[in-house]
């Protein structure tokens, strides 16, 4: 079913809205959550919470892109669970991915410093805009979705070695870029 029709179902307050959403994007959402939490039951809960969030938010909200909107909600809910549950987070794909970025994002930022968080996000977006599509996809899959190297390789038709090398190079470039921008 088209995303626009699913949004219409939400507006009509039809129970089918969540069914259709789940059928179309359920697997993707579960994968994103499992990447972060490495725990199926927790991830299923997060995905269900995301459906509920969409049910509550649409209407009045009308997402331009339902898929991206849903992905962001699932990720945010999963991250909240991830940070709350220190026992589970260890060894998840996402944990490994974040460790890689720790060497790049070295600035000591207070959690209250919303302005700096926003600035860093904007700079990273600018940096991503200058990458080739493939390198950008590798980066976003790894550090946004928390995909494993192997999963990215399968998704994009490359070897894990190539993905790994490209990511390493992209991190180095990002570090250099942020240094020039005096953000680290």
């Amino acid at each position: 079913m088209d995303d626009s029709k699913i949004i219409t179902l939400f507006f009509e307050r039809s129970q089918n809205a969540v069914n259709e959403l789940s059928e179309k994007y359920g697997r993707l959402c579960l994968q994103i959550s499992v990447n972060i939490l490495k725990n199926i039951s927790d991830s299923e809960e997060c995905v269900n919470d995301a459906y509920l969030a969409l049910w509550n938010n649409i209407p009045p909200e009308v997402p331009d892109d339902l898929k991206t909107y849903l992905i962001k909600v699932v990720r945010n809910i999963s991250l909240k669970r991830y940070h709350a549950n220190t026992a589970v987070k260890r060894n998840s794909f996402y944990d490994a991915a974040l460790s890689e970025l720790e060497e790049v994002l070295t600035a000591d930022v207070s959690s209250e410093n919303e302005v700096l968080f926003k600035e860093l996000s904007e700079k990273i977006n600018t940096f991503l805009g200058g990458l080739s599509r493939e390198n950008r996809t590798f980066f976003v899959c790894r550090y946004y979705y928390g995909d494993s190297i192997k999963a990215i390789a399968e998704k994009t038709g490359n070897t894990p070695h190539l993905v790994s090398v490209r990511l390493m190079r992209t991190r180095e470039k990002l570090k250099e870029y942020l240094r020039k921008e005096e953000l680290i």
């Binding site: 898929k67 962001k72 968080f117 977006n125 200058g130 990458l131 390198n135 946004y144 038709g157």
Partner: protein, 402 residues
Amino acid sequence: MKKESISRIMSGIDDEYIKEAAAPVKKSGNIRRYITVAACIAVVIIAGIILSQADIISPSHFSSEGTTANESGGGDKKFPETATEGTAEAPLDSFITPGEEIDTELAIESVTRPKWEDMIIPMRYGEITLGEITYSSQCTEISSENILSKLGEAKMQGYDIYTDTYYTVTGEAYSVKSISTECAVAVRIDNGEEYFIYVNSWYEPEDLGDFISDLDLKNTVLFRKAFIDEYKHSDTASEHSQRVYADFDDKVIWDMLEDCLSAENTEYNHPYDRIGIETDMPLLGYKNISFCITPDGYIITNILNTQKCFFVGEQKFREFDEYLKNNVPYKEYNTVYELNPDGTIPGKGEDGQSTPGFNPDAPVQISPPYDPSQEEAMSNTQQSSSPEIPQDFIIEETTRTE
């Protein structure tokens, strides 16, 4: 920075990129590689057909089957009767069946290959495969100072075409300082003391930035001279002029390249004019290889043996062209080919035979130093004086220094 903060920053990634990565484009395979392999197979098949139709292959002495031996242990060496000093039958076994022979005279003319004992080690063992990458020998030694860490070991095979003998050795591969292992490795064979460069000819950088960083080009490449060629044709003559710029500033090239780091590696298959730059890469054993920029805005090079091409835009070509023409002293060489009355090129009539108008021993005429203010007059002089010059083949050299 704490992981929580990092994930918060990552949450700010643009929707556009999130959407893009949710449905990545899967590579359909390395088309260029398959095309090249298919082309090679086609060439071999066609060559086989032509040779067999020409009755070049006749039965008799391609008789022995290969034997395997270790380099140290030697093997049963069977010298073909037809082998002569410094030459051998070409490795045409891909289209010659056992028991057949090839015409020795043709082979001697076509392929000259040193004898096994005359070859240096990296010439004997042409390839090493590590994981998914096969590296080819550059027959270039590299000092141990440029070696980093050991990557692994692999068996390497050499083939002596004179004796139809295979040899197997162990190669230890090492990473080379500042060069990505995707591009090249250093190999030490059978615990020898020397390290040799092997390159991955199939390396395909994603973009110009990758290419520069993977090969540390800024520190490994030497630009020598730039060449601009121009051709003029009329009914009575053809003229080729070449300007050679030796003292240009490398920084101009690097500034141009660094402006275009995200230029993607692409394909470029049509004929082109260009500014060619004579390029060396001593670390990997390259001398006088191609690096050029085309008027339609492509940078093309054959570093690592296969074409790498990056679109940098026509403006970059114009800027470099203007920089050379306006700022760099040059030498100009003009070659005039006067055509035969029938319009054919001297030396090659329509039947491909030499024609009376061609004098290969004609002396080369060197003109006086170039004076820019006399450019037009000089051009006129050249046109008017051409008929008085007895030779058909004229080379002029002019020099301009600013």
